[in-house]
């Protein structure tokens, strides 16, 4: 069906893909092996740097003695709640700001100020106000993600092609129709990319919250590990966190494929 040249082209492309994947795995394995060997022969201090095998046994141990899934689930749960709330609140406020330019102009400087403030700084206040519990963690995460969402999505809204808006206006469309038929659909790509940023923002907020609240969750495992100087625990926490955040990112990417399939 295809010409030999095209088959050759496909072959080359596939070979390249395999090669890329091979090197990705190679890097991962090299890191693990080198790390393990360096620790084993005590070229680096395994007490401080931990090692892959220690991390693995720590995780297995955590799984057997403590309920590790409880910690993982706590973090995921907090992240999902904050992410969901952050997305909804962010979209809602961005919509209100688009709807009423006067409100936007009024609160614009406040948005900028809050956005540039390092949110960790108000962490202690949040804990004093809301207590050392999940509420504080969610508020922490919201603070970090919502403002960015508002700003990104709002900018997506106002960058909508003016001609498309005029076209709908020439049909005498209402503001709601304009929003639904052109502003929102043409902002899907912006919204999705803001979700992608959001998932990591939220995770940062949640982990920071868990550091401060220190009850459970992966963030708690990490702080607890560092307090008792158990670096194996700290490293295990970080590895688990890496996996969790990557999985969440994959879910948003999947959502992107479903939402923006046509062009």
């Amino acid at each position: 069906m295809y010409s030999p040249e095209h088959i050759n082209y496909l072959k080359k492309k596939r070979r390249r893909k395999i090669l890329i994947f091979f090197f990705q795995i190679l890097i991962l394995l090299s890191i693990i092996i080198v790390w393990e060997l360096l620790a084993k022969y005590e070229i680096i201090n395994p007490f401080i740097s931990s090692s892959p095998s220690r991390i693995l046994s720590t995780i297995i141990n955590l799984y057997k003695t403590h309920n590790i899934f409880n910690h993982i689930w706590t973090t995921i749960y907090e992240t999902i709640i904050s992410f969901g709330l952050g997305t909804i609140i962010g979209l809602l406020i961005a919509t209100i700001l688009w709807w009423n330019n006067f409100i936007y102009k009024v609160i614009d400087p406040y948005l900028t100020i809050i956005n540039s403030l390092p949110k960790v700084a108000i962490g202690p206040i949040i804990i004093i106000y809301f207590g050392a519990n999940i509420k504080s963690i969610i508020i922490m995460a919201l603070l970090i993600s919502v403002i960015v969402t508002i700003i990104t999505v709002y900018n997506g809204f106002i960058e909508t092609d003016h001609n498309k808006i005029n076209l709908l206006k020439s049909f005498k469309a209402t503001k709601y129709q304009i929003f639904k038929m052109v502003i929102l659909p043409s902002s899907y790509p912006t919204i999705i990319s803001s979700l992608k940023i959001n998932i990591s923002m939220t995770l940062i907020g949640v982990i920071m919250g868990e550091f401060l609240v220190s009850k459970k969750g992966i963030g708690y495992l990490i702080t607890y590990g560092s307090q008792v100087f158990n670096l194996n625990l700290v490293m295990s926490g970080i590895i688990i966190l890496m996996i969790v955040s990557y999985l969440m990112y994959l879910i948003v990417s999947l959502l992107e494929k479903i939402l923006i399939k046509k062009d």
Binding site: N166, K169, S170, F171, D263
Partner: protein, 251 residues
Amino acid sequence: MKNNNILEIHKLSKIYHTSKSEIPAIKDLDLNIKEGEFVAIVGPSGCGKTTLLSILCGLEDYSSGSIIFPKKELTMGYMLQTDTLFPWLNILDNCLLGLKVKNNINIESITKVKELLETYGLKDFIYKYPSNLSGGMKQRVALIRTLAIDPDIILLDEPFSALDYQTRLAVSDDVWKIIKKEKKTTIMITHDIAEAVSMADRVIVLTDRPSKVKCEYQINMKDKSTPMHNRNLIEFKQYYDKIWKDIDIHV
């Protein structure tokens, strides 16, 4: 006074206000449009042509003057200067946009739009997306989207300016035929004198900004037919030269 006007514009003025200055775009413009007429408006770029159309279809307010519909309130179908097909909608849904805004989607209207698409050579593209269409086809779709709401007057804002010269000739011929077949009153804006003379029944020449009507020409040609054909007539060249002098572009 008995006449056939369906639209009368009287002493229309428009001033744009920006924080830096005020820009008079239109000043004391008078214009009457008759039923079934194809009127082309030419003028130097930036003179206020787009502004005039925006006012006619209610996108912009005007500062003073009056716009009167002697017979009945008219529906305007606006075809914008640039390609405004929605890339996330297929061709059919793009054409149904106006009806959707007006809550007029039903089996009947969908069938009508499909028929339009079929009649004008877009049958195979009904469920395709705009990215699959050539520039000329996109303009045809945009015209059908305008026709779908069955407007009394079609307003065209430099509808072919994004097309290359060859396509432009073919598409303007196409669009003209569609408009004549659907018997629509049309106001077309252009800065291309040849386009205006070949397509229109009447050509209005505007002055520099702030624009008003400088002069107008009833285009009479002995052998008048399609735009493509008209371009070869002797009178075409005469009208062209006269209007060229009227616009008097200083370089």
